[in-house]
Every structure is written in C-alpha cells, then in structure tokens.
C-alpha cells in the first residue's frame, strides 16, 4: 500500500477557507467536521484558544485558526465549521470560515513554503499546493497545535 502511494505521490486534502485564502490539511489527520457549537471559554489560556467543546462526551480544546495564524478573526457565520483534527493522539478542534471540498493533489505540485512566504507564520506552513489557477496553503498541524512547545501554558 505504502509503496503505491509513494509511486503515485498524490495526497488527499481537506480544503477550507480562512478569509479569502484557501488552506489544506491532509485528510488522514482530519477526524470529522462539525458545525459551530457551544464553546466554553477557559481562563489563563492564549487568546487563540477559543475554549473547550463537548464531542460526544469528551472535552476537546478548540483553536481559532485565524487568530493562530495572525489573521483578523471575523464573525461566526452559517458556514463556520470546526474541523476536528488528530495529531499524536491529541484531538483538537480548529475553527475555519468554511470547508470547501476534499481534493487530491500531486506531490510535484507542492512547493516548499519557505521559498514563497517569509512571514512569522511560515513555521505553521508545510508548503503551497498549486491546482490549476488555485493556491492551497498546506498547514503544519504539529506546529499549529503547539505540541512540544510551551505555547499553551501561558499564564
């Protein structure tokens, strides 16, 4: 199986929108996509952590992805979704403006982000995918969630 994927060098992505930009996460890391629900604020956390939500009996932290990436956070609309991702056994919800589709992209069409973007948020990016006339920003979830970082423990 693995061999096959490697020779095909295609990855499946869940594509979503943050403002006017389009982003993508590997479908293997996405657990499910939920509509916006009640989120309980947690004091003493960084501002990009919206709070915690109830996912069928377990409590998950929810991140405002736009704030995390240094973008202007805007109103919650009917299209707003929470993408539940799982990284290293840790499930986290990410608030996105809208989920567009699931797509396949060839590895050769992905460009290293460092050559394109040089902002602070560059750490959070894995690359940029080119798809006909669309650009898809691929996210590095480990960095965004802050595993092995002290980001979450700001007092």
């Amino acid at each position: 199986m693995e061999e096959e994927i490697r020779t095909q060098t295609e990855i499946q992505l869940v594509a979503f929108k943050l403002g006017r930009e389009e982003y993508g996460i590997s479908i293997l890391q996405v657990q499910e996509i939920k509509r916006m629900t009640d989120i309980t604020r947690v004091p003493y956390t960084p501002d990009y952590i919206r709070g915690v939500m109830n996912l069928r009996g377990s409590v998950l932290p929810v991140l405002d992805l736009k704030k995390r990436l240094g973008l202007e956070s805007n109103e919650i609309t009917d299209d707003t979704r929470i993408v539940i991702v799982k990284v290293d056994d840790l499930s986290v919800g990410l608030i996105v403006d809208a989920v567009s589709e699931v797509m396949t992209i060839a590895q050769e069409n992905i460009e290293n982000s460092q050559t394109v973007v040089t902002s602070v948020a560059a750490n959070y990016l894995d690359g940029v995918g080119k798809l006909e006339n669309r650009l898809l920003i691929l996210l590095n979830l480990e960095a965004i969630i802050g595993i092995n970082q002290e980001t979450a423990k700001v007092g």
Partner: protein, 678 residues
C-alpha cells in the same frame, strides 16, 4: 503454540507470587519455625517454577528449582532458617523479580543466576550432609520430623495454622474431615476430576489443605489418590455421598480430624523483635480461610476495561441529567417519574462500578515490610514497622499513584526520623524505633499516615536554613509559627539543598510528594514534636471520577465547585465587605474570611453598566484550615458531575481542575479551590 497470549497472565501471577514470597520470607525471618509459612513459600516458588518452565524461561525455572530444594530441606527441618539462608532466599527473590521484569520489558537482561544456584546447591548439600551425620541434631520438635514423609499414612501432620483451623471449627460446632479420594485407574482427566471433587467439597465447607497442593492437583502432579482437608457443617455420610456422585471415583474415605492436642507445640514462637510483617500470627487463620473463599469467586479484569466501563457510566449519568432537565422544562410528568426510577438504577450502577474499581491499600503496603527491612539493615537501625488498616479501599487509579510518595515518606521516617539505637537509648527511648503506616476512612476521604517516634523536626533549624538558603527573609521567619516553619519541608527549593537535609534531616523530595498528592486531589500535612516524632498525614479522595459539586453562575459562565471543599453558602450585602490592606474580607461568626471575586480572578469580560447588586452570594470554601469566600452571581444547584480532563494541550492551567459536561451538553469548568485561595 503461541505463548504470547499467556504472557500477561504469566507476568501477573509471577509478580503476585513474588510479592507473597517477599512477605512470607519476612514472616519466616521473624519466626523461623513457622512451617505453614514455609509451605506457603514452597508453593509460590513451585508455581513460579511450573509457569516459567512452561513458558520457556529456563533461568527462572532453574533458580526456583534450586530454591525448592533448599526450601524442602527447611520444611523437613533438616536445615534451619538462619539469617544466611534467609538473606540468600531474599537475593533469589530479587533476582527473580529482575528476571520477570526483563521478560515484561522484553529486554535481554544478562543476569547470571549461576552464582545463586551454586550457593543454593551448597546450602542444600551442607544440609544433606548434616542430616546423614546427625540426623536429628537440627530438629527442635518431633512434629516436624514426621513431616518428612507426609504422604505415607493417613495421619498427616497438620501445621500449627491448620491445627488452629480445625480447633476453631470445633469451637464453632463444625466438623473437620480428612477426605481420601481414589480415582479409577482408567480415569482420563485426573485434574478435572480433582477439580470437581474440590469444588464439590468447597460447596459443603471450607477446604483448608490438600495433599498434594492445589497447584499440583491442577497440573496432574499426583498418582490416583489425593487427600483433602475440609471444615464443614455437613455429616460424614453427606461428604462421602457428594463425592461418590462424581464419576470415575474409585473410593472415598472420610476420616474425622482429631485435634492433636499432644502434638501442639508448647514453645511459643519468639516474640517479634525486628520487622513485623503486615499479617500478625493470630490473624493467619482468618487470612487463610478468607483467601480460599475469595479465590473461587473472583475474576481478573483488565483495568482498561474498567476504565471504559466507568466512562460509559459517566456518559449515562450525563445523559440522565439531561433527560431530567427535558422532563422538567417541558413538564412531562411521566418522564420525570420514569427518570426518578432510572436515577436510582444509575446511582446503584455507579456505586457498583466504583466498588469494582476499589482495591485495598494492602496491595501497595505489602511491599513496604521488605523495603523497611533492607533499609534498616543498611542504616544499622532497628525498626518495627506496624501496618494498620491495609484493608482500607481506594480507587485503583489512586492506588497506582500513591506508592512512590509513600516510599519517600517511609524512607524519610527511617533515614532521618528514627535515630540510631544508641542515640535512642541515651534519650531514654526504646532502642527499636517504631514506624507506623496507617490507613483509614474518614468521611469521603482516605487518610494514610506515616508516623515515627524519632527525633522530630525542629522548626528553628528549618527556619534558620530557609533564611540561609534565601527562601524566606529573616523577618518572614520571625513571623512564622512552628507549624508554618515545619511545613516549609514541602517547599520546592528546600529539597534541593543538601545542607538542610543533613542538619534538619527532612526534606528529600518532599515537594515531589506534595505535588503528587495534590495532583490526586489530596493534601499532605505534617505534625511533629521535637524528640517525640513526626506524623505525615495524607488525605485523599476516595475516587477521582464522579463527584458532587455546586454549580455557580458568573456572568454567562457556569463553573463547578467540588462539594468536598465547600463549607456553606451565605448571602451578604456589599456593605458587609471590609478591607484589610486592600484585601477584601468579611466577618463570619467572628472569623475573618478573605473574599475572592471570581469574575476578576477568571478574567471574565464584564458586562457594561451593571451595578453592584444589593445581595451577593458567597460560597465559603476551605482547604485544610484556611477558608475563603467566593463571590458568585447565582447558585444553580448541587449536582453529580463527571470529571473530565482538559487534555494535554490545556493541562496545568491555574485555578481550573478539570471540566465536566452538563445536562445540556455544555462544558463547564471545575474550579481548583486550593489554587484559587493562594
């Protein structure tokens, strides 16, 4: 054959037997003539041997085999259990433990068992030589001498313990029988028949001994006959009849057991001096009988399965609360009535699950007698360890965590608390120091205490050292009373200082102990008197998963305060709040109580143009002796909540102890009262 599926069982049982070996060896050390204990040791070693041989762990099998040889000579009183042999046996157990753990970790540990095997052989050979030269010289009583060939006649020697069982049975008007069972020669499944006989007899009464031992019966290590000793209220005929009903039985002889008064040993076992193991000799009988009853009726369950069972019950409680609310909001009388029924069932279910998860602290305490023995030898101190309340039950998750802190506390008590024998004598104390490990229930808490009658902690020295270390200023030290000073041993910076440890003798890793206990939702306290000793007292919640809590409202947010830390709730007016140096306080029944404005502490965004209401709700909480009042907007009510962790990402947030899911599916945070008051 795939052995992996038996691996878990092998490890678990080996560990259990090693634990019991440690315990029995301690008992043997304090009373070298205890034959019943020797039997116990022999059985454990034998079982480990059998299991490891089957699993292909030859080293373990070899070592236990040699141990058995020595143990057998001890049993036959050819050898005497002197300190050398006991030490050697302890070393064997240690090596076995290492071997078993290396099997568990799948590491290829290169442990050489040969030196030990060699030593065991030497001991066994010496013993053998001694028996040919002066066969009776090592014997102290004749009863043991006859024990050499127990299978030869029906008048089997019973050990002291077993005699006591028989006597106790007689006293209760029960009968004791020796049942000799002969199987047919063509019997195919001997062990199965033996099992049927055993279980049939266990239904009639209590089986307290069998020849060969139960393990051997299971493994078909017997010819066609075996003997079973039981205490029962049934008549001889009935016993006979019951067994004859089982097929493939050739003959059954039932002989009443007489109490062999003459055989009773007159010399009392030496009063225990050094380490007293957990079980006292007079309790042995009870233990014995109890074990037998339980063994037939328990099931080994994977702790993960229990965890998921508890989670499911938690879900059920949440959903039940939710249904109750629906019933109330929509005024559905039928639903409300049904929910009342269901409430009872869920509460019962929850209690049962909780009870299933409860294990006696004895499981943790068991390993301490051995540790105390080694430590006191190492430090040349004489310690009498007394364990009380080992049957006290605690949640499994707590049990797993409590071991290390207790090791710390015991080590401290022995290393630094108890003085050397000469020093004790000079101070007019018994040269043997006493360390107690006590567990008991107190309301919804379990208290575990480690006490010693050593030199205690001198608050002045602690203060001086803290000042020297720059942990506190001289002015702070002067203000401190003795209690506060002693509590400084838990101060994180304190433990890192070797100087303090040498002088004051306390504080090694005490902050670690404190952190651990607090992470379990407990508290640790210390009481001490110079020259009289110290008491370290741990208070732990019975269980961690479901608690009663008071839900409160601040602005639009709901928080849960654990009921265990709530004293009362009161109403005050804003005028009741006074200030002392800008700290808001109220006066309640003569006590000054500091006020915490939860809205501010939690940085809750305040609504515009809200005036201070005429009436304020205050929840009075306590943590130990300290009290505080928490101002909240409204009280929602008392409710059972299921504690959920906030997860790795949000772990360690100040003031928040966890989260819970309310009836409407909303997440509410649980306040950590302890950190709120700091």
């Amino acid at each position: 054959m795939d052995m992996n599926q038996y691996m878990g069982m092998f490890l678990e049982e080996s560990r259990e037997h090693l634990q019991s070996l440690n315990q029995s060896l301690l008992e043997l050390e304090s009373d070298p003539s205890a034959l019943a204990v020797l039997d116990e040791i022999f059985r454990s070693a034998h079982t480990i041997k059998g299991m490891s041989a089957t699993m292909g762990f030859t080293q373990i099998a070899e070592l236990t085999h040699e141990m058995e040889n020595v143990l057998d000579l001890l049993r036959k009183s050819v050898l005497k259990a002197d300190p050398n042999i006991i030490d050697l046996l302890f070393k064997c157990v240690d090596t076995l433990e290492q071997l078993v753990e290396s099997v568990a970790n799948e590491t290829e540990l290169t442990i050489d068992v040969n030196p030990l095997v060699e030593k065991l052989r030497q001991v066994a050979n010496n013993g053998g030589a001694a028996v040919t030269a002066t066969p009776q010289s090592t014997h102290e009583n004749t009863a043991a001498a006859q024990d050499q060939s127990p299978e030869s006649c029906s008048q089997v020697e019973l050990s002291d313990t077993e005699i006591q069982v028989v006597k106790a049975a007689h006293d209760q008007g029960l009968l004791a029988f020796e049942v000799k069972v002969e199987l047919r020669e063509n019997c195919v499944l001997k062990s199965a028949r033996a099992y049927m006989v055993m279980s049939a007899l266990e239904e009639l009464g209590e089986v307290f001994k069998s020849i060969p031992a139960a393990e051997d019966l299971e493994q078909e290590n017997f010819e066609f006959s075996f003997q079973v000793f039981l205490v029962t209220s049934a008549e001889e005929d009935k016993v006979q009849q019951t067994i004859m009903n089982i097929s493939e039985i050739e003959a059954v002889t039932v002989i009443p057991c007489k109490v062999p008064v003459a055989e009773q040993k007159t010399d009392q076992p030496n009063p225990k001096k050094e380490v007293t193991p957990a079980g006292k000799p007079d309790k042995l009988v009870e233990h014995h009988v109890e074990k037998k009853i339980k063994s037939g009726q328990s099931v080994r369950v994977d702790i993960d399965k229990l965890d998921s069972l508890l989670n499911l019950v938690g879900e059920l409680v949440i959903n039940k609360t939710r249904l109750e609310q629906i019933g109330l909001t929509h005024k559905l009388t039928d639903l409300v009535e049904t929910m009342e029924q269901m409430d009872r069932v869920t509460t019962d279910l929850q209690n049962v699950v909780m009870k299933v998860r409860m294990v006696p602290v004895g499981q943790v305490f068991n390993r301490f007698p051995r540790m105390v023995r080694d430590l006191s030898h190492e430090l040349n101190k004489e310690i009498n360890l007394i364990i009380q309340g080992e049957e006290t039950e605690l949640d499994r998750t707590v049990i797993d965590e409590i071991g290390d802190p207790l090791v710390h506390l015991l080590r401290n008590a022995i290393d630094h608390g108890v003085e050397h024998p000469e020093e004790r004598q000079a101070n007019g104390k018994d040269p043997v120091g006493e360390v107690r490990l006590i567990a008991r229930h107190e309301g919804n808490n379990v208290i575990i205490m480690v006490t010693d009658d050593g030199k205690g902690i001198n608050p002045e020295i602690i203060k001086a050292k803290c000042v020297e270390k720059g942990l506190i200023t001289q002015a702070e030290a002067d203000k401190m009373d003795a209690n506060e000073a002693v509590r400084m041993v838990f101060y994180p910076g304190f433990s890192t200082s070797k100087v303090v440890t040498d002088v004051s003798g306390r504080g090694v890793g005490m902050d670690v102990v404190k952190t651990k206990i607090e992470s379990l939702g407990g508290r640790v306290d210390v009481e001490t008197k110079v020259n009289e000793g110290s008491i370290f007292k741990i208070r732990l919640p019975l269980t961690l998963a479901i608690i009663q809590a008071l839900l409160v409202n601040i602005c639009d947010e709901i928080y849960a305060i654990p009921l265990g830390s709530i004293d009362s709730t009161i109403n005050i007016t804003p005028g009741d709040i006074k200030t002392i140096q800008n700290q808001e306080v109220i006066l309640l029944r003569g006590q000054i109580i500091p006020i915490v404005r939860l809205g501010k502490v939690l940085a809750i965004p305040e609504k515009a143009n809200t005036e201070e209401p005429e009436e304020l709700f205050v929840v009075i909480v306590h943590m130990g002796d300290h009290r505080a009042g928490i101002i909240v907007d409204t009280l929602i009510g008392q409710q059972e909540i299921v504690i959920k962790s906030l997860g790795k990402l949000l772990a360690g947030i100040k003031v928040i102890a966890g989260a819970t899911i309310l009836g409407n599916g909303q997440v509410a945070l649980i306040l950590d009262v302890g950190s709120l008051m700091q």
